[in-house]
Each structure stands twice: as structure tokens, then as C-alpha cells.
């Protein structure tokens, strides 16, 4: 990328040309970071109609902790849903990716296309029948049911990602394991799983972020004490008629945001790679 570099001229002139670039990009960075920093600060500061009446403190968080079933319950719901979604996504995409990459079996292409076609179906089109169907499966208003549904929406990306991860491993690696007396499952468990670990991490991050943050699926399928935090926050905002407790809402947004920001900053490489692989398939 050094081709654009030497339109330069003398250093002073170059500096003058570059100053607008730094001003512009700094401005843009501020726009992107400002809302996040603003909520973090506001959640600790005084808001009209909130528990934090003056100065800085934890008043807004106190309101949130004791809201209806309590922050703990909603957080736990979010956590259980996310864990179920991540676990189901990882197991299905690990086994499925292995099958699609390394085996031939009847219906293989049909199943792969069917899995990818989940991308084409609106959430709402599946959620309306699921309201009824989960009752038959005895999964209505359960965290496990919602976790599985969220995993289903992750399958196109996850199965695709794991398939290309397995396809990237040289065949000899698996054959060596088979010759050493492993069955195909032994080869997967003892050898191949380590080779596809980056793919699993990427799939896991995406499944977690999607499940942790999802609003629409729980809105259709969960209520009462089973609500995860995003749904509880939206309902909290609507229930206090007239006066909206912005302080507690902001505190809730921060609670939801912090794990995402930490996960993003610590595993950014894997996160970006997930997007890249999506871009390459186009």
C-alpha cells in the first residue's frame, strides 16, 4: 500500500496536506466514541426523576438492582440464554463443519444450502410459528428454547465458517491420525479440534454477542421473570408512565455494553477475521 505514499513533495508541504486528514479522522473517532463514553459518565451522574439526585454515585445502578425481579435475575437469564446459544452453535457447527468438509453423504448439498437459506428468512417469519410450536415441544417461555432458536439464526455463519476451517486443514493430518488408530471421532477430538480452534473462537464470539444482545427473539418468546436484560430494560422504560428513569436505563445499557466492549477489545483479531471470511464468500 505504499503506492499512494509518495505524492509527497517537501516535508513541510506534506505536513500541511496531512493536517486536515488528522483533524477529520479525529473528529470522526470522537463521533463514534462519544455516545459510549457519554452513557458511561451519565449512568453515574444525577438525572431528573432518578435515584441519583445530585453529584456522582451508584444511585442509578441501585434502582436497576432492585427493579422488579432484580438485575441479578435478568442478568442470569441473559447469561443462560447466551451460554445455551454458544454451546449449541459450537457443537452443531463443529460436527457439521467436519461432515461438510470431509465426508460425502446423501443430501449433503441440500442440507448445506438449507442451512445457508436460514439467512434469507426474516426473524418474524420464524417467530410467529415458534410462538405456537415451542409449546408443543414444551419449550415455550424457557431460556433453553430461546437459546436454541438464537443458535439456529447463527447456523449459516457458523457452519460456513467451520466448513472452511476444516477444509483448510491438509488431509494428511487427518489421515495420519486415522493410521495411528483413531476413529474419525478420535481424529476430531484429539487432533483436528486444535487445528480449527481459531474458527471456533470466532464462531463463539459471534454467537455470544448475538445472543447476549438479542431483543426480538425474547420479545416474542419470553416474558415475566424469564426476560433477559435487553428486554427487561425496554419494558422498564415503558412501564414508568410519563417519567422515564433515564439514569437507570443508562446504567442498564452500561451493564449490557461492558462485556461486549471487553470481548471486542480482547479478541478483536478473531472478531475481524469473522467479518473478513464473510466478505470473501461474496
Amino acid at each position: 500500500m505504499n503506492s499512494t505514499r509518495r505524492r509527497s513533495g517537501p516535508p513541510l508541504l506534506r505536513g500541511v496536506i496531512r493536517t486536515p486528514y488528522y483533524v477529520l479522522t479525529t473528529g470522526l473517532a470522537v463521533i463514534f466514541l462519544y455516545p459510549i463514553l457519554w452513557t458511561m459518565i451519565e449512568s453515574f451522574s444525577a438525572q431528573p426523576g432518578s435515584a441519583q439526585t445530585d453529584g456522582y454515585g451508584l444511585g442509578n445502578y441501585t434502582t436497576l438492582v432492585s427493579y422488579q425481579a432484580g438485575l441479578g435475575v435478568y442478568l442470569m437469564n441473559s447469561l443462560v440464554i447466551s451460554l445455551v446459544a454458544v454451546l449449541v452453535t459450537l457443537v452443531l457447527s463443529l460436527l457439521g463443519g467436519y461432515a461438510f468438509a470431509r465426508f460425502n453423504f446423501p443430501g449433503k448439498n441440500l442440507l448445506f444450502l438449507l442451512t445457508l437459506s436460514i439467512l434469507m428468512v426474516p426473524y418474524a417469519t420464524l417467530l410467529i410459528p415458534l410462538v405456537i410450536w415451542l409449546k408443543y415441544l414444551h419449550l415455550n417461555n424457557t431460556l433453553v428454547g430461546v437459546g436454541i432458536v438464537l443458535a439456529v439464526f447463527q447456523l449459516p455463519f457458523a457452519v460456513f465458517m467451520m466448513r472452511i476451517s476444516f477444509e483448510a486443514i491438509p488431509r494428511e493430518v487427518e489421515e495420519a491420525a486415522l493410521i495411528d488408530g483413531c476413529g474419525t471421532f478420535g481424529a476430531l477430538r484429539r487432533v483436528l479440534i486444535f487445528a480449527v480452534k481459531p474458527g471456533l473462537i470466532t464462531v463463539g464470539i459471534f454467537a455470544f454477542l448475538a445472543a447476549w444482545n438479542d431483543f426480538m427473539v425474547p420479545l416474542y418468546l419470553l416474558g415475566g421473570d424469564k426476560q433477559p436484560l435487553p428486554l427487561a430494560l425496554v419494558n422498564m422504560r415503558q412501564q414508568v408512565m410519563g417519567v422515564i428513569d433515564y439514569g437507570a436505563t443508562e446504567a442498564g445499557v452500561v451493564v449490557l455494553m461492558v462485556p461486549c466492549v471487553v470481548l471486542f477489545l480482547s479478541l478483536q483479531r478473531h472478531y475481524v477475521r469473522g467479518f473478513m471470511s464473510g466478505a470473501l464468500k461474496g
Binding site: F32, G96, M120, N213, G252, V253
Partner: protein
């Protein structure tokens, strides 16, 4: 020979076994619901009363005649055009700003990408506070240009939501387009410059055509996402003021749980949405990919 063939068949069986969990989940949680929604769209299915019997094709007629149907269609299309144009333009602009590798550009990429890790629902709640007349930091500014509440007018609500979406998603499109930009070899630019092409010509004659596959993917994803917009409007505007920001998917929810409490009507509308989406995507693939193959 025979043992080799038997071994291959045995191996196929393992393949089937490994694929069977995916097959089972896809069948139970995807194929069955799709069949069920088609069936439900032809029945008088109440949210509380359950299935009251087949009434095909009444639901389809009733949905299309619903007073909010055409307003929702036209608003969804309008929003899709605005959001797609802005997201692709901003995403491409950002990608070009951070294209080269340097420490500062790395930091910029992180800053632009950070909002994409946040949930759409939490982002919407965040902006709900940011836009609120009570605690929002821009109220003095809004008041000085004569706006009491940005979400209070149809246009204000639309553009406020568009701003949220651009903030939340442009980093994602930046990344998709960055992959495309970095696939264009520097020598092509070099050659164009030697031939005396202006920066504008380089952009329209080289960058855009060579970026077509990435642009096509970005546009398809953006159009699909925007046609199905729900969270942002549900949380920021609730379809208001006066139903002016009601999208199709919001209308599905509204028919099922709020106004009609009819799952049959909602199923009919969501089948219409599914068919429309498939048609739109086939059309887009034709247009965008067809030209890319030249």
C-alpha cells in the same frame, strides 16, 4: 476393491452421523416453523383463542387492506433506500480513510468498529437517552434550530434513527469494503496515475468497478437488514409519531400482539415479507452479480 468400497460407505455413514445434529435442529426449528407459518397464514388463528379453522385466503386480503399496510411498505422502502445509500457511502469513505497500515489508522479502525460489538437494542436505548428532551446533551442545539423533541416529528424520527444505524453499522461495512479495497493492486493505480488520470477518474473508473463484488455483498446485506428493520424503530419511536415510522416487521408484531392479536394475520404478512425478500434478493443477485462477471 470391495473392502475399499465398503470402507467408503462406512465413512459416508460417519459423515451422516456428524451432520445429523445440524439436520435435526434445522428440521425442527427451521423447516417445521416455515411450513407451520404457511399453514397459519391460511387460518383464523387467534393469539389467545388458538386455531379457529381455515379461512384462506382471507388473511392475505385483510392484511393488504389494513390501513397501515401501504404506509408501512412505503416507509420501509424509503428507509431502506436512505439507510443503504448512507451506510455504503460512509462505509466506503471510512474504508478509504483507514486503508493504509499505520498505528493511527489501526486505532481509527478500532474506534469505528467498536459500536458493531454493541447490541442493536442497547444502542437504541442509548440513543433514546441521547435524543431525549430531558437528559439529551444536544437539547440546547435542537431548541436553537426550533426542534423541541427530535423524535417528535416524522422526519426527525426517521433521520434520528438513520443516524443511530449509521453509527452502529458503518464500521461493519467499512470492514467489508476494506477487504475489497486491499484486493486492488497498487500497480493499477500507479499505471492510471502515469497515464494522467485525475483522482476523480481513478475513483469512478478503477476503484468502483474493481470493488464491485464487495459492493454487491455490502448492498445485499444492507438492503436485507433494512427491509427487516425492527429493534431500532420499536425502541426509539414505537412506530410513531402517528404511525409514520411503522415498518413491515413492526406491523407483523403489532398484528400478532397489539392491535388484532391475530397470529393468522401476522403469519400472512410475514409470508408476504419472506416472498418479497426472496424476490428482492434474486433481483439484486442478478443485477449486481451479472455485471460483476463481465
Amino acid at each position: 476393491m470391495r473392502t475399499a468400497r465398503r470402507r467408503r460407505l462406512a465413512r459416508d455413514r460417519f459423515g451422516l452421523a456428524y451432520a445429523s445434529p445440524v439436520a435435526a435442529v434445522v428440521a425442527v426449528f427451521f423447516v417445521v416453523p416455515i411450513l407451520l407459518v404457511v399453514y397459519m397464514s391460511g387460518t383464523n388463528w387467534k393469539l389467545l383463542g388458538g386455531n379457529q379453522g381455515i379461512n384462506f385466503p382471507d388473511n392475505y386480503g385483510d392484511v393488504v387492506d389494513h390501513r397501515m399496510f401501504w404506509p408501512a411498505v412505503s416507509f420501509t422502502l424509503k428507509y431502506t433506500v436512505i439507510a443503504t445509500v448512507l451506510l455504503i457511502a460512509v462505509g466506503l469513505g471510512l474504508a478509504m480513510l483507514v486503508q493504509e497500515t499505520s498505528r493511527w489508522r489501526g486505532l481509527l479502525r478500532t474506534a469505528f468498529l467498536l459500536p458493531t460489538a454493541l447490541g442493536l437494542a442497547s444502542s437504541s436505548l442509548l440513543f433514546y437517552s441521547l435524543y431525549s428532551p430531558q437528559v439529551g446533551p444536544f437539547n440546547d442545539f435542537f431548541k436553537s434550530i426550533g426542534i423541541a423533541s427530535i423524535l417528535g416529528s416524522p422526519n426527525g424520527a426517521l433521520w434520528a434513527t438513520v443516524f443511530l444505524i449509521v453509527w452502529r453499522y458503518s464500521g461493519f461495512y467499512m470492514l467489508l469494503l476494506l477487504v475489497g479495497l486491499q484486493g486492488i493492486s497498487g500497480e493499477i493505480y500507479e499505471a492510471a496515475r502515469i497515464d494522467g488520470a485525475s483522482p476523480g477518474q481513478i475513483f469512478t473508473r478503477i476503484t468502483i468497478p474493481l470493488l464491485r463484488p464487495s459492493l454487491a455483498l455490502s448492498i445485499i446485506m444492507c438492503v436485507t437488514g433494512s427491509l427487516l428493520a425492527f429493534d431500532q424503530f420499536f425502541i426509539l419511536t414505537k412506530g410513531g409519531p402517528d404511525g409514520s415510522t411503522m415498518t413491515i416487521v413492526q406491523l407483523v408484531y403489532n398484528l400478532a400482539f397489539e392491535s388484532k392479536r391475530s397470529l393468522g394475520l401476522a403469519a400472512a404478512l410475514s409470508v408476504i415479507a419472506l416472498v418479497a425478500l426472496v424476490v428482492v434478493n434474486i433481483f439484486q443477485l442478478r443485477v449486481l452479480r451479472g455485471k460483476g462477471d463481465e
